[in-house]
């Protein structure tokens, strides 16, 4: 496996059963290095989101192999999958913040999943990352009182606060202005260099493509291009 955080071998994925069975991923073989920023591109329905959910332990791997942080996901039990998810950070296209929780509380959810911990230190960590993302004055706001960009930055803070080993992001900058988007991707790049955090991101934003270490393009479930920069 070497320095790879994520490895796929002969990965196929199917949706549906019987006559309705449809293949979404075809024989995907990948090795994504630790600390790298990899971008998945491709038209709608090309399989990039399916690949992201398979790597993120959110779908069952039934044909082929996916290894994440050294653990094989094919035939993995639920406990292993839940344990691995805690070592990942997810940034969704929609912020998916909990409407009843303030910014700080939403970010704390990213820490409390690990159990235990000092509540004050957790709160300090949540405040610190919110400050870094320019949300110092929005820490106690409910999502309903935040703009779209602010909500997305809280979601980013929630994903990053627990120092995940892999970050899986789906169009994370879509709701952000140019400056905020650049800041978030720069933060992900810095985490890669400083802590070896691996980022796999689905995006079509040209300004981000130039910051990627690697760009993989999928079409109809096949990898059609794999460029390293």
């Amino acid at each position: 496996m070497g320095n790879a955080s994520i490895t796929t071998r002969g990965l196929n994925h199917f949706f549906g059963k019987g006559d309705a069975r449809k293949q979404a991923i075809f024989d995907v073989n990948l090795e994504i290095e630790r600390g790298s920023l990899t971008i998945l591109m491709g038209p709608s329905g090309s399989g990039k989101t399916t690949l992201l959910t398979l790597i993120g332990c959110l779908r069952e791997v039934s044909d082929g192999s996916v290894s994440v942080l050294g653990h094989e996901l094919n035939n993995a039990d639920e406990d292993l999958l839940v344990g691995l998810r805690r070592r990942l950070g997810f940034i969704f296209q929609a912020h998916n913040l909990h409407e009843s929780l303030t910014s700080t509380q939403n970010v704390l959810m990213g820490l409390q999943v690990h159990g235990g911990g000092n509540p004050q230190k957790q709160r300090d960590a949540a405040h610190h990352i919110l400050n870094l993302l320019g949300l110092a004055d929005r820490r106690d706001y409910l999502p309903s009182n935040l703009s779209g960009g602010q909500k997305q930055r809280v979601a980013v803070a929630r994903a990053l606060v627990s120092n995940p080993e892999i970050i899986l992001a789906d169009e994370p900058t879509a709701a952000l202005d140019k400056e905020s988007g650049h800041k978030v991707v720069q933060m992900l790049k810095s985490l890669g260099k400083a802590r070896g955090t691996t980022t796999v991101m689905v995006t079509h934003a040209p300004r981000i493509l130039e910051m990627a270490d690697r760009i993989i393009t999928l079409e109809d479930g096949h990898i059609v291009s794999d460029q390293r920069q």
């Binding site: 959110l58 839940v82 998810r85 997810f90 409407e99």
Partner: protein
Amino acid sequence: MSHLLTILFGRLPIGWLQLTHSRGRFFAAVAGVAFANLLVFMQLGIMGALNNSTVAPYDILDADIILSSQDGNTLTDGGHIPRARMFQALGVAGVSDASALFIGNLPFTLEDGSSVSLLSFGMDVAKPLFATPAIATSLEKLSLENTVLLDEGTRGMPKDVIAELIDGGQFRFETGGNTLTAIGTMDVGVGFLADGMMIMSDQSFMRVFPGRSSGAPNHILIRIADGVSNDAVVARLMNTLPSGNLRIQTKSGSAANDLAYMATERPTGVIFGFGVFMGLLVGLVIVYQVLSTDVADHLREYATFKAMGYGQSFFLGIVFEEAIILALFGFIPGILVSLGLYAGLVSFTGLPVEMNAGRALLVFFGTLMACSLSGAIATRRLANADPADLF
């Protein structure tokens, strides 16, 4: 509250925050649970009053064993037995004394023209040991013809009459062509059986109820000798006395059987029992509806938490947290309003409707269980929270 729950759970109190975020729904849910509590409390309160009034007459009797007619349903609703059984019982080893008890209902017209029913006990006043000490001291005065002790709680009886009796005065009244004189009071309390109660001598009883025969009392009260077990004497009585149409029970056993009869065979007991069930069902449905809607409204957030690595126990914890909060917040107004309504019922009807710790705890834990059950059913919807759908 949020801070306190955070310390208590060791995590953010998501359930509390979710419930209080939608305040309208939260208050509606609390009101629903409180209403269900109110229904249950009222049913239990009236059922308790029914039970209390069923066994209250036992409180004035001091007997170990009671012989009754087998076709009798309760102490005050029974047939007659031959007085000869009393003499036969006195010959059984372990029986120290026996006395006949006559029971009848006497209509009495109050000054305002309304009619009340007085449950009347006729006792052998020469045997005061068969009455509880508070009554035994007054019992010998009843040897005077047509004198009675009147229940202080008799429904409709003017308060000044009762006050005068307590102060040692007398109250003369006519009923069934007889003039009776109340020369004292006792505190039994009104119930469902009658509007009040009175005790008189067996001789006065025969005059007031001319249709009754001194040879056919309603019950035979038996006291046993010191150091002898009730059960042993009951067994001997069963072996000695003719078995036809005779029931031999300890006093406590007789009271328990009366309660069981009222709860399971009388329509009133069954109706109130059904009312309790309906109250719990109403609470269960309300809480299920609230929790189920809450889960459905937050499926996307729950799916996000699943993606982050939160396990099933976390989500069950949230739903049960909400169930417990609703149970607790619904119980408090529920019991407060019930206390007010109990007081109103006592004031208007004189029925012994009272709250006790046992009933409050029973309803609280019943509410907790109903809410938890609703929560458990509502958690089935959690399975729909698929984190893969988030991308």
